[in-house]
Subunit: 114 residues, 10 copies
Amino acid sequence: MAELETFPNPNPGRNYTILHVNPEFTSVCPKTGLPDFATIELEYIPGDTCIELKSLKYYYLDFRNKGIFYEAVTNAMLDDLVAACNPRWMRVTGRFAARGGISSVITAETGSRP
Amino acid sequence: MAELETFPNPNPGRNYTILHVNPEFTSVCPKTGLPDFATIELEYIPGDTCIELKSLKYYYLDFRNKGIFYEAVTNAMLDDLVAACNPRWMRVTGRFAARGGISSVITAETGSRP
Amino acid sequence: MAELETFPNPNPGRNYTILHVNPEFTSVCPKTGLPDFATIELEYIPGDTCIELKSLKYYYLDFRNKGIFYEAVTNAMLDDLVAACNPRWMRVTGRFAARGGISSVITAETGSRP
Amino acid sequence: MAELETFPNPNPGRNYTILHVNPEFTSVCPKTGLPDFATIELEYIPGDTCIELKSLKYYYLDFRNKGIFYEAVTNAMLDDLVAACNPRWMRVTGRFAARGGISSVITAETGSRP
Amino acid sequence: MAELETFPNPNPGRNYTILHVNPEFTSVCPKTGLPDFATIELEYIPGDTCIELKSLKYYYLDFRNKGIFYEAVTNAMLDDLVAACNPRWMRVTGRFAARGGISSVITAETGSRP
Amino acid sequence: MAELETFPNPNPGRNYTILHVNPEFTSVCPKTGLPDFATIELEYIPGDTCIELKSLKYYYLDFRNKGIFYEAVTNAMLDDLVAACNPRWMRVTGRFAARGGISSVITAETGSRP
Amino acid sequence: MAELETFPNPNPGRNYTILHVNPEFTSVCPKTGLPDFATIELEYIPGDTCIELKSLKYYYLDFRNKGIFYEAVTNAMLDDLVAACNPRWMRVTGRFAARGGISSVITAETGSRP
Amino acid sequence: MAELETFPNPNPGRNYTILHVNPEFTSVCPKTGLPDFATIELEYIPGDTCIELKSLKYYYLDFRNKGIFYEAVTNAMLDDLVAACNPRWMRVTGRFAARGGISSVITAETGSRP
Amino acid sequence: MAELETFPNPNPGRNYTILHVNPEFTSVCPKTGLPDFATIELEYIPGDTCIELKSLKYYYLDFRNKGIFYEAVTNAMLDDLVAACNPRWMRVTGRFAARGGISSVITAETGSRP
Amino acid sequence: MAELETFPNPNPGRNYTILHVNPEFTSVCPKTGLPDFATIELEYIPGDTCIELKSLKYYYLDFRNKGIFYEAVTNAMLDDLVAACNPRWMRVTGRFAARGGISSVITAETGSRP
């Protein structure tokens, strides 16, 4: 996977929120081999570091040809992003386009918001 | 930087709110040298002084050719504006246009609203 | 200034609210001499008297060629209107059209709503 | 009246259109002395010169305290603007806010569009 | 009936259009004695004179307690307004609120638009 | 059936249009005995007489318990209304609410509009 | 298939239009065996007979478990409906919900509208 | 590339239109190697054969990791689809998501619609 | 200025249209030195070459700190883009954000669309 | 009246809600003999039985030619429906179309919702 880069939080003394919305996420269904499409929302309160945006984009791009279920990819992203920047709080929401007529939203977060 | 001017709060005896919305903010990405575009929302309850609007406009204009990250610019504006007018409460929200397909919203404030 | 006239509250035994919205307010910027345009919302719970509507219109008209800042005019209107009718609660909101690309909303009220 | 300034049409060899929309026009009713409010739309194909925008703004401002009927002001503006820049085609539309419950739209132009 | 006043067309040398929209028209049904409500749209190209707006308002007001059918009132207004100002073209549209569950629109004009 | 009353066209010298919209029409399906619901739009240019609105309402009401197909009722209304007032042009549109999940629109008119 | 019943056109002397909209059509994909969903719009000018609505509903229902392509079903319906009622003009539009992320609209008609 | 399959046009004797809308198209920018996202609209009047929908989906999927410009991909799809089914008329529209802040729409068709 | 790059039109044998929309254009007012903001729409039918998108972005960026009027910049862009790619037809529309309360739209094109 | 049929509640161990919305209710005004139109909303938490839907439809149909006031019909339906199925809670809302320009909503329920 592309490495998630970080940079020092310019204001670690303050609890402030960062929201990144990516409407162009795509991965592959491990069962059918067909592509999935989603909007990924990442919201967090940074600790000592922030996620660098370009590396986040390349991180998302690495799922393009990877076979992975909706639930797995949403949780994996939360795990990877928490590991990369150790935030005070983080939530990842995946809004997946309809398959077989059914659309899905997966939401995972690290406990309650400070 | 352009100096943020203030004028005496005409009603310091009252907690009232001021909201300034600037949909024409632009700065430069420090990594790529390309411009960023944002809507900046400034909301505050003034203490002894208020931010003068024309100086606020020139303050924002000074970021036009400055290389700075979303998180840094949002927090820097909060710091500068708090230093300039010492408000009872203030919040700065930066809504940044999509880059690499990802749009971002950064929100920073000084504690809870009275 | 035009005098704000009042008439007796027909139901002083009840806490009810009155809202007057004026989308045609204009005053003058004391710095540039150029006109400002705003929508003024006046909401209140009357005490013994109510604001007479025609006198309110002439009161607003008196600001047409007066140089005054957003914050001052919003608070001055709240002060004048409170003095004129002594309401149980009152809020004045000024929504000012963009100047230098920045639009502003000033909100002042007399404590919390009963 | 403020003088309408012009500048040389940068492309007189081409028929292209210019539209200026001013939602902040105000004048005075000659009968009642009360203010009128309007959105003024100016659309034209320039000849040798173009209307300079700041002088247009000051031209509009000169009507602020002038008593003049809707029909007269719309036609007067068309006459003044034609005289100032001698366009190949021009249309002025005044959309006046309701008075006595009646709203009005006046449209004047110089023949048909090339 | 209130007299429809006119004033000299400030630009008789030009074919331009005037539209007055009155959403507050009311008359009386001659059969039931109950009030009718309508929006009246008056659009015309003036000849030597224009309809004065305040007298138009009082003209409309005179129908308040008059019993008259939709078709008659729309045509009568066209006749009266044509007689008053001798326009180059005129159209009157009456949009009447539902009665007995049925809403009605009556449109009358003087030939085709120049 | 209730008689369709007419009154003399107040302006037979002019081709003007009349539109009556009735969203509360109901009749009965001749096959199932169950009620049908429709919005009926009647638009016409009167000749010597106009349809009186109250009699039109009672005319519509007479279909309330009558078994008749969509196509028949729309054409029958056109025939009856033409017979009653001999218009220069007339169109009847029936917009019927869904039955068995299928909604229907029937449109009939007397040639082309003058 | 269920038989499409007709009834005599109540006004064969007039060219009028009939529109039936069925948002509840479902058939089966002949390749995957999975259900398809569509809105079917049927619009026609009847000749000597009209399509009876209940038989139309049962006709549509007969496709529920039938494997058939979008293009075939739309044209087959046009053929069957033309055969059943011999209209002066007819158009069938099938608006099919997305399959594999792709939505489809098929439109077939019998020449141009009279 | 995946082969575009066709099936016999069920009604070659009739000019009817087929529209397929795919909001989940993605390819790769040949300059940057980064993914592009688009909605592809395919509209055509079939000749002897129709495009089979599942093979169309796989045809689109084959662009997923292919480097190709907007203009080339839109025209290539038109060429491939014309070659595959020899339609009487066809149009392909590609609506591409913003890159570097600029969004693009490319439209190509085979002459005018019959 | 940044050079506008082109690439060979992949289908010169076909008249097809290309639309690029850039909501992030900014230049500088030559009178006040303050920034202007606009959405630029470029639509054209290519001849032998197409405008390369990244070079278009850099071309637009070169106006960021350049003093130029609305009319001049819109026409200059049309001239530069025509010179760069010699299209069969081209139109440039600049939608400029309000200055002094007045917003502007400038539209220039090369004759009529083939 | 048509008999309201019921069937055993499949989950009496759980408090769940059922909502039936009927936009096609019509009855007759006892004063004027003219029809009233309403949307009837029935919401309840079933006890041991549920209302059977077809019998509910016929129950509503029985009001078609019955003279009864808004308030009476809404309360009568609540009484009948409570008697038929003995729910844990029930509310009936009648939204009646405007008469004399006034629309009405009547809401009746059996105590507070569990």
